[in-house]
């Protein structure tokens, strides 16, 4: 199917796909801002994200056309990589791009009813413009091969995100301090990243990531490089909500508009994790003396702490959104645990879980948006008896929930299985016990919600609840079916993750 779709794209368009993927939503964002009403801006954002999805599929086909994954280098503006900015697409990039653009497209389709209910009419066009800018930034981070350019795209997406989160203020004023806090921490994270890039530039004289990887090889143990490494690690850790640096996340997810929460939960932290993995394995490389100990002594303990501490926090939340937000931090722990193993199997498992978690949280938060639409609150009480009044929405929610827990035949099971076997292979059998324990906690916190949904009587039967509109149901069920499809036949996504990890360890490793 990928080949079929990509064969329909004209050849000269396919040649410029890396640039078009990012430029199309960027150019359409100001156009959307000037649209006279929100509906036109919405249609425009569907067109932009759909086009990006098409380009992402084309890129994937191009990368997969060569055995073992080709590396596409696109010189922006015709400037060769030593002087200009290079867009570099390999198996890992193409996987992340496909993920971001698919989620972006589905999110754009589903957004309208949710935006209609939560955003004022006058602001809707601007809202979609901000969404497109955010989408541009995320795609840019996932495709650029230039370290400083990555910072710029990271900030483009982040600044748009702060605005989007703050727009939740209409429903709950607590969105404003949440956005302010996110802005503060996010900016500090990005600034740390820039300082790190500055150190690397001072030591090597280049900003191109592939070139950096080569020039860093002889600089083992150089103090400037070590400082740069530490700054980049912490900076991207804040963006990726690595455990002790995740404080911005729960409030931002809980009080932002439900559409924004869905989009962020499925993409923003994922892209930051991609950037972290890119720096850990491509730029610095496992040979980098400092890295092995960081993985074992920092990344692994913090991700295990995230899996346990945040799962416990999720258990004690009364608001479903907050439960899911804390669970997101815990799931980031799973991905980083896979990465911290430092083997191809481990990174592959981490990337596999990254994709699956995007599908899971996308489905869960979309269903949540449907609930917010028909009934304002998202507390556990509001969920009671919803299984009867909105069976379609809630069945999809349940599929997402069991997938999050990791029950066989769902996506969550496949990636947890991959993670567990990678852990066994590496001899970290005790970490397997932690994964199991954390999954058990997931049973508790998701089980609480499912119990309320399906086995409790509605608290207030007078309040009419209804099914979410079709515009929400269709993308929601696409994601829910994707969860089952990956769970039953995980070959496609697992293959993508394997290729991505392989490209880090063989092709892009040096």
């Amino acid at each position: 199917m990928i080949e079929l779709i990509s064969s329909m794209v004209p050849a000269d368009m396919a040649a410029h796909a890396p640039a078009l993927l990012v430029v199309a939503p960027m150019l359409l964002a100001p156009v959307a801002a000037f649209m006279p009403n929100g509906r036109l801006a919405w249609i425009l954002s569907i067109i932009a994200t759909g086009f990006s999805l098409l380009m992402a599929i084309t890129l994937l086909a191009q990368v997969r056309s060569v055995d073992g994954g080709a590396v596409l280098s696109y010189a922006m503006g015709g400037w060769t990589p030593d002087a200009g900015i290079e867009f570099r697409i390999d198996s890992l990039n193409s996987m992340v791009l496909l993920l971001v653009s698919t989620i972006g497209f589905l999110a754009a389709i589903f957004s309208w009813p949710s935006v209609q209910a939560e955003i004022r009419e006058a602001k809707r066009a601007m809202f979609f413009a901000a969404y497109l800018v955010c989408f541009t930034g995320l795609c840019g981070v996932a495709s650029t091969g230039d370290a400083f350019n990555l910072f710029v795209f990271l900030e483009i997406s982040s600044i748009a995100t702060y605005v989007l989160v703050a727009l939740g203020a209409r429903r709950d004023r607590r969105a404003l301090p949440a956005a302010g806090n996110y802005l503060l921490l996010g900016t500090i994270g990005a600034s740390f990243f820039v300082v790190g890039v500055g150190f690397l530039y001072a030591a090597t004289g280049t900003l191109n990531m592939a070139e950096l990887a080569i020039r860093l090889q002889p600089l083992q143990g150089n103090k400037a490089v070590l400082a740069g490494y530490a700054f980049i690690f912490v900076g991207l850790g804040i963006k990726a909500a690595m455990f002790p640096l995740h404080q911005w996340l729960p409030n931002a997810y809980a009080y932002g508009p439900s559409f924004v929460t869905m989009f962020l939960a499925a993409t923003a932290t994922k892209v930051a994790i991609y950037a972290l993995v890119r720096f850990l394995f491509t730029v610095f490389g496992l040979e980098f003396s400092f890295e092995g100990s960081t993985l074992i002594w920092i990344l692994m303990p913090t991700s295990i702490a995230a899996m346990i501490a945040c799962s416990f926090q999720a258990v004690f939340q009364t608001d479903v959104r907050r439960t899911l937000a804390y669970s997101s931090v815990a799931q980031v722990g799973y991905m980083l645990l896979g990465v911290s193993i430092g083997t191809a199997a481990g990174v592959s498992a981490g990337m596999f879980h990254l994709v699956n978690h995007a599908l899971i949280k996308g489905a869960l938060f979309m269903a949540l948006a449907g609930v917010v639409l028909s009934y304002q609150g998202t507390s556990l009480n509001d969920f009671k008896g919803l299984g009867r009044s909105a069976p379609w929405t809630m069945t999809a929610f349940a599929i997402g929930a069991v997938s999050l827990i990791g029950i066989p035949l769902t996506a969550g099971f496949q990636s947890k299985y991959a993670l567990v076997s990678a852990l066994f292979e590496h001899g970290w059998w005790w970490a397997v016990a932690v994964v199991m324990f954390s999954s058990l906690l997931a049973v508790v916190y998701m089980g609480r919600i499912l119990e309320a949904v399906f086995f409790r009587a509605p608290v207030n039967p007078n309040k009419r609840r209804k099914e979410a509109p079709l515009l929400i149901l269709v993308p929601l069920w696409i994601l829910a079916v994707a969860n089952i499809w990956v769970g039953v036949q995980g070959g496609f996504v697992a293959g993508l993750a394997d290729d991505a990890a392989a490209s880090l360890f063989i092709g892009g490793g040096s």
């Binding site: 203020a169 956005a179 900016t187 600034s191 530039y201 001072a202 004289g205 509605p458």
Partner: protein, 178 residues
């Protein structure tokens, strides 16, 4: 030792500014002051990049004098010079201050500062301005919604709301089971 510390004076100043900014943005309770701290932090990064690119005796990276003639005779001189100063700034980065007189100026009569960090910082300044603008806009909205810009007061108000919500919810669920 003293020499080691003194000849890196610019870096000490930058580290000092950076830590002051970071501390303000964590410790201040006033949101505006937090943004001030953030601005200080970002400015120190800009200074960091700029001082990386500086070379002793370096001029603005515009070819003039004999270099200008050279660049006319060799097409490639332009690229060559830029690359050379890259390496010179690399040296400045990890210690030596004499980078400018070494092979950095090879092939050129004059010594030029590396223009790339300056260009990068133009972008970073734009990003910083955008962040500051969004931050101030959010603070204006916070002031409208809460009537204050002190984080501890905002937290106290939010806590009150959360407690009353929890109480209402407990009541509601109690009514539901009864």
């Amino acid at each position: 030792m003293l020499e080691f510390i003194l000849e890196r004076g610019n870096y000490w100043a930058i580290i000092g500014l950076m830590m002051i900014g970071l501390y303000i943005s964590f410790a201040a309770t006033n949101l505006i002051k937090r943004l001030v701290g953030l601005g200080t932090f970002q400015t120190s990064i800009i200074l960091f990049y700029i001082s990386l690119s500086r070379i002793d005796g370096g001029t603005a990276p515009i070819l003039f004098g004999k270099d200008y003639g050279k660049s006319k005779s060799h097409d490639k001189t332009d690229d060559y010079g830029a690359e050379g100063s890259d390496y010179a700034s690399a040296d400045a980065g990890h210690g030596g201050y004499d980078g400018g007189h070494g092979y950095g100026s090879e092939g050129l009569e004059n010594v030029y500062s590396n223009p790339l960090p300056h260009v990068l910082m133009l972008t970073a300044i734009v990003v910083g301005v955008a962040t500051l603008a969004v931050g101030l806009a959010i603070i204006v909205r916070i002031r409208e919604a809460y009537g204050t810009v002190e984080t501890d007061e905002i937290r106290a108000m939010d806590l009150e709301v959360a407690i009353s919500e929890a109480a209402a919810q407990a009541e509601e669920s109690g009514a539901g089971t009864a």
